[in-house]
Subunit: 264 residues, 4 copies
């Protein structure tokens, strides 16, 4: 293993079951990730799942984030909703508060907020909903970070409001030359090939760049890499991304606490 | 007005609308009560209602309590459910956490917990569910008080666990000679007559006793009187109870902060 | 009373409570209306409310329609959602089937479908969602009518699919010169003045025209007039609209059964 | 293969996903079963799942039953609820109506009703809730059968009301000598051993008896055998039960249509 020279965060969506239903490999992802985006009951997650995932996260030193969403359980928060900004802000606060109860019970607290699904996509461009999310986070705790897409309206407004913003990159998604994600339907939009995913993670971490769908090079400074958990080989992929990054000399460190990064 | 010699708390159920639907006279009850039992989204209440009621409560110096319930919106939390204790405890924590977010935003915090509806009735005798509620409250914040029926399993176990317990009495309900409430169906079980309600409030506050359904006298030390909000004349009744108590020399003071009661 | 020379339908939204919560004056509106748009549990309404309203409707000879909506209870179906067409179609079928059970129990059956709230507005222009609603209705029962806005994509596609379409007009809403409704926020968009509402109803029924917001005249052939139930004086207004129309010689007859209109 | 001399029904719980979540091996179970107990949205199932499972069932000649439940999604209908009988009856009607829409769309109709989870257990002894289920089924369609536990209050009251009753036996559960099921917690209560499950199925089908937990023999005439789908090897087990029964000369035929059983 090379000496650790740099550090990056790995974030993953967790606790996305509901009641009797389960989704994703929570334990394996917690072993690989450094930040856990935990569902808060609006698109997935219930009180018991939230508590359990918080406990497992704290045990592993994984940072807890509120994965806030539209109130749409049957649609898993993946359907854009025209929620008025004040209602959206209150819904975000409710979700953070509920999760924070379990985070504190487990010995930590909510460290950041990441919008989920359709809300994530909407606040890339929609200033009104982005502003609502920022206002909610800020009113709950101005020390919370916001995790989102680099260049999004959300991160821009969060920065303007004095919140810490954390840009993320996707190790399994193709990028357009303008920095947006290639829509999921298109050929090559999502990669499940382990080698290419791992290679992209290393390049993002060390060189801050990613190859675009048309073969160009995109400069992309991400403090966190998102590793998805909903593909069949997600757990294995996450493990390999972490292992390869560490082998290459990149420490996996939660961004939300990365005040003192170990440098060789 | 006589000089204030004693003090009591008046608690009332608030924020029991959902979405577009409203219930009860929240503003009028907040003007009369000193403690607000606020619904947390499981039997009633949504994020926006919770925020609004918290803000109004803090403006009036009314203490905020989490009115925790079974997860049963269509049944308004009034149907007994056989929830396993661990799930129940987690559901209670979730509700307190969500409400606490809005209480803190409004400048205060959740001060106590009161079970609602079928859960209220169940924990009078059911040790398992009572223990779950106590464990939840204690794990969230051991400084929280629990408001409930005197002699209930809930208050007994809460006391054993070192929590502050607050016994309440009902100004509009008839009592059996053993201290239990006369079931709602029976003749004379519920009184909407203003004079008798007010008289009972005064007697409970000053003499710590209440007339039973069969004409006897029951000794009943209650730190808080519950005034219901779901009768047609609830707002007027609440106002008269408060006014008459104050006129008689009894201050209306939130129990959850009653560290320094003004004494004449 | 003039001899009855013409007939029109009056439709109203009904059964919009949920659980313990109530909304609108169901009984009074059923006494005035000839068609009941009954909520089916997705934006409002539960099984017990649906059954009760169906029974009351059948007793009064009021025709039963399924008021289908997005699955959004806390938002009362008023928030546009990007639901994929197949899911939307299935949701519409589910709602019709559930209501039909109660309609048949009461001795009739569902006679028509009217989209509610945000879905109503969306299918005015959105061909994809409109097509989904049409497909759902047609697959459930091709004899069902669709009630909607004249000129809407919904009615156009429903007509193309061979379904009976019924155009409605609003007696309390202002119209633009192009036939669209003046948005609710604008001055003069909604009228609660009884005289002007009643006058508009008569003019729509007899002359098939309505004055526009800018003082012009709009030709508008509506088989049904929508009377809202969510204003404070809704019940009184509905009664006066019906009374005045009947006095003027216009019979109030359900469109869904209007095979033999009584003509003087 | 022996000549077919007898016939029995195999029923299985299906469509128990919700939104994005899936549960059980629907396709494999539909290939083995002759009757499908389909969730109707109250404990599991949504409109799109219901439609899909109905279509697959009809394609395979599998009979459609409404698997009705308490309204408790997060608890999967497994928590006893004290629902008042009229509300319960209306909830059952709502569920049957919604499923019937999809059954008819697929070319068949709902043929029977089976209570799910906690409701199933409650109506074994609770006459009030059992009566509510019977009243609901009868009012929807008196030709519907009710599938349940032999000796239960439900089947007794359904028979009294003139409904067809169908007794089921469990091939993977141990029985007490009084005919009740050994509670799940006890050692030996549930068997996942393929050989013993298959042997029990054959004995139930041909000899109408089952070995009890204490080694005795219990006479048990069941028209239908329930094969569970929530164990890891459920699909394989179901296949083997069907195959072995058929090899032994027992045809697998839906009870709800078994008017003309093929006999050798």
């Amino acid at each position: 293993m090379k000496p650790t020279t740099i550090a990056i965060d790995l974030n993953s969506d967790l606790g996305e079951g509901f009641g009797i239903w389960r989704m994703g490999a929570d334990v394996e992802l917690l072993d690989a990730a450094s930040s856990a985006n935990i569902a808060c009951g609006f698109h997935a997650g219930d009180a018991s799942i939230m508590r359990h995932v918080c406990e497992m996260a704290v045990q592993r030193g994984v940072s807890i984030g509120a994965h806030v969403a539209y109130q749409d359980l049957v649609g898993f928060g993946r359907r854009r909703m025209e929620v008025d900004p004040q209602t959206l802000a209150n819904d975000v606060i409710y979700q953070i508060g509920a999760l924070d109860a379990f985070a504190r019970l487990a010995g930590d607290r909510v460290r950041y907020v990441k919008p989920h699904g359709a809300l994530y996509n909407t606040v890339v461009t929609d200033a009104e909903q982005a502003r609502a999310v920022v206002a909610a986070v800020r009113s709950y705790d101005p020390n919370l970070a916001i995790l989102g897409l680099p260049g999004s309206r959300l991160l821009q407004l969060a920065g303007d409001a004095g919140l810490r913003t954390v840009a993320e990159a996707f190790v399994d998604r193709a990028y357009e030359s303008d920095g947006t994600l290639t829509p999921r339907g298109r050929p090559g939009a999502v990669s499940q090939d382990a080698s290419s995913v791992v290679a992209r993670a290393v390049r993002l971490a060390f060189d801050h760049e990613v190859e675009t769908i048309d073969g160009g090079i995109l400069s992309l400074h991400a403090e966190s890499l998102c590793i998805h958990g909903d593909t069949p080989n997600a757990a294995e992929l996450a493990r390999r991304v972490r292992f390869t990054l560490e082998e290459a000399g990149c420490a996996i460190v939660p961004f939300a606490r990365a005040t003192a990064v170990p440098v060789a």
